[in-house]
Symmetry: C2
Subunit: 319 residues, 2 copies
């Protein structure tokens, strides 16, 4: 008798923790585990063993293995085509790690792998606000800036599996551009990530004597800037104005290229809501090519924070 | 008896002339006509009549109508989804022109319409240097800068049919940016079109006293700059260096977004060959994100100049 394969497993591998969940076709997480500390394993093989243990346990809790259609994994610097993690900065194991092959050999379940921003885009398309959309971009605003681009209903992987590095288009050219983690200057990520927001705050504080709640802090995070802005702090509000302006300029360029139906903002910084959206929309309206004016919606992701990473990864396994 | 439909018709509607050709499956033009002067017709209907007359004649010369699979048209400001030309700047008739509908009603042959840059991309994929490629971008360097983007083997039209405006990404932000024909400032097109090259030459001449062959000319075209550069003219060589640098910076961003296998340069300015390619490649190598270094080939279109527009348009009709 054929059992209907109506479950998928989503795994989100992060630099600190790894989350695993069993998900049904409507995006309900039936069982989850967040106990794996990624950097506690000295070899990749031990890490795979730990994941397999958790997967086995979650499958037992929820039902039989026969119902599981596949495993989707979101992992940094991972390649959809090869299923490998390649030279990841934020993981304890270097070189090329054959994630998909090892995991599918051990579990007997098909495995698909992509980076977290692409997983977020597939998650939005499968369970989220992009259901039914054929052309949209998810921009993840976290420690870095990533993106998952969907065109004609398909994710854009490019010729090598690494397309979608919107965080590394150049926004400020020449020597004035901020040094980015990638070694180049002026990247979008250096301005519009959570880290970029904190940097902008420090720059603005250094440039003026304007009183600010942020002056009392020893270290400044984007969360501090957000809290201060909510209290009407002038510098903090200027930081969001600046961040929104640059993101709006970048999005105007992305729209000229792929004319998406929507841009979906995802990740930590997107929780700033209108503090970011208002200046972003003003900047976009000012900078977008006339042909595209008013055509692309800017939307905040509606996937619940705690579930988004597992859901996004799991959505890969339906494909 | 079923006749094999192994012919297509390609039509290139330009601001001055309109070219029509019957093309076989290998990209051979079996018959062609370039007699239609686009702006000689006061109404769009008269223009359609003229095209239908030519089409009928070309079909008679080459064979029977039953063998014609479809008509593909490349036209400015045209929309693949609707088949309309919408508010074209360079055509004598304004408003929305239902090109595909009128032409297919009159000829009884299916008609597909797109802009010339998209037609060029489909042409390269069908008969040209992009045969077998799934991810590439054609950049047309003519009076303006246009592009046809192919991702996962399909042309990118976006949500409204107008995607691919690479000529209008912003390369120089703020007030220093050159005014572009679109009304915005700093667009790629304002620097890397044939017109942009002539503008750069005038700027460079005004800024210095360096002797130059270009100083003797009353008006300067990109062709003049090319001729002078071939003779070793310092200013002219600097103009190509500058143009290549900006185009390389832009292409570095496009690669970060879609990681294409190749960028194919097409149109008037691409005939400058290594004068443009050398500084472009240097700039690209300097600016591209490390992940993508050396992965994307920069290629000059190999389609013969005189045939490219008809071939590109005709390729639409195979789809």
């Amino acid at each position: 008798m054929n059992v209907e394969k109506n479950r998928v497993i989503g795994i989100d591998i992060g630099g600190t923790g790894t989350k695993i969940g069993v998900v049904d076709a409507r995006g309900k997480i039936l069982a989850r585990d967040e106990s794996i500390v990624t950097n506690a394993y000295s070899t990749f093989e031990e890490f795979i063993n730990a994941m397999c243990g958790v997967i086995e346990r979650l499958i037992k809790i929820t039902d039989s293995k026969e119902k599981v259609r596949g495993i989707g994994v979101g992992a940094p610097d991972s390649n959809f085509y090869t299923g490998n993690i390649e030279h990841a900065f934020n993981l304890p194991w270097k070189d090329v790690l054959p994630l998909a092959r090892m995991l599918s050999e051990r579990t007997g379940i098909p495995v698909r792998v992509t980076n977290d921003a692409n997983a977020a885009a597939i998650g939005e398309m499968t369970y989220g606000t992009a259901k039914g959309m054929k052309n949209f971009i998810v921009i993840t605003l976290g420690t870095g800036v990533g993106s998952g681009i969907v065109i004609n209903g398909e994710l854009v992987y490019g010729c090598d599996g690494f397309a979608g590095e919107l965080g590394h288009v150049t926004m400020v050219r020449g020597e004035d551009g901020r040094l980015c983690g990638c070694g180049r200057k002026g990247c979008l990520e250096a301005y519009c990530s959570a880290t970029g927001v904190a940097r902008t705050a420090k720059e603005f504080l250094a440039k003026t004597n304007t009183p600010s709640l942020l002056r009392d802090l020893e270290t400044i995070t984007s969360r501090d800037v957000y809290d201060a802005a909510l209290k009407g702090d002038k510098i903090a509000l200027e930081v969001f104005e600046f961040t929104g302006r640059i993101l709006g300029e970048a999005i105007a360029d992305f729209i000229a290229i792929s004319s998406p139906e929507a841009i979906i903002l995802f990740g930590g910084l997107s929780r700033a809501g209108n503090l970011l959206l208002d200046p972003l929309q003003r900047s976009l309206d000012k900078n977008v090519l006339h042909t595209f004016k008013g055509k692309t919606k800017i939307i905040l992701s509606q996937l619940p924070d705690s579930d988004a990473a597992i859901l996004g990864a799991s959505a890969l396994a339906w494909e």
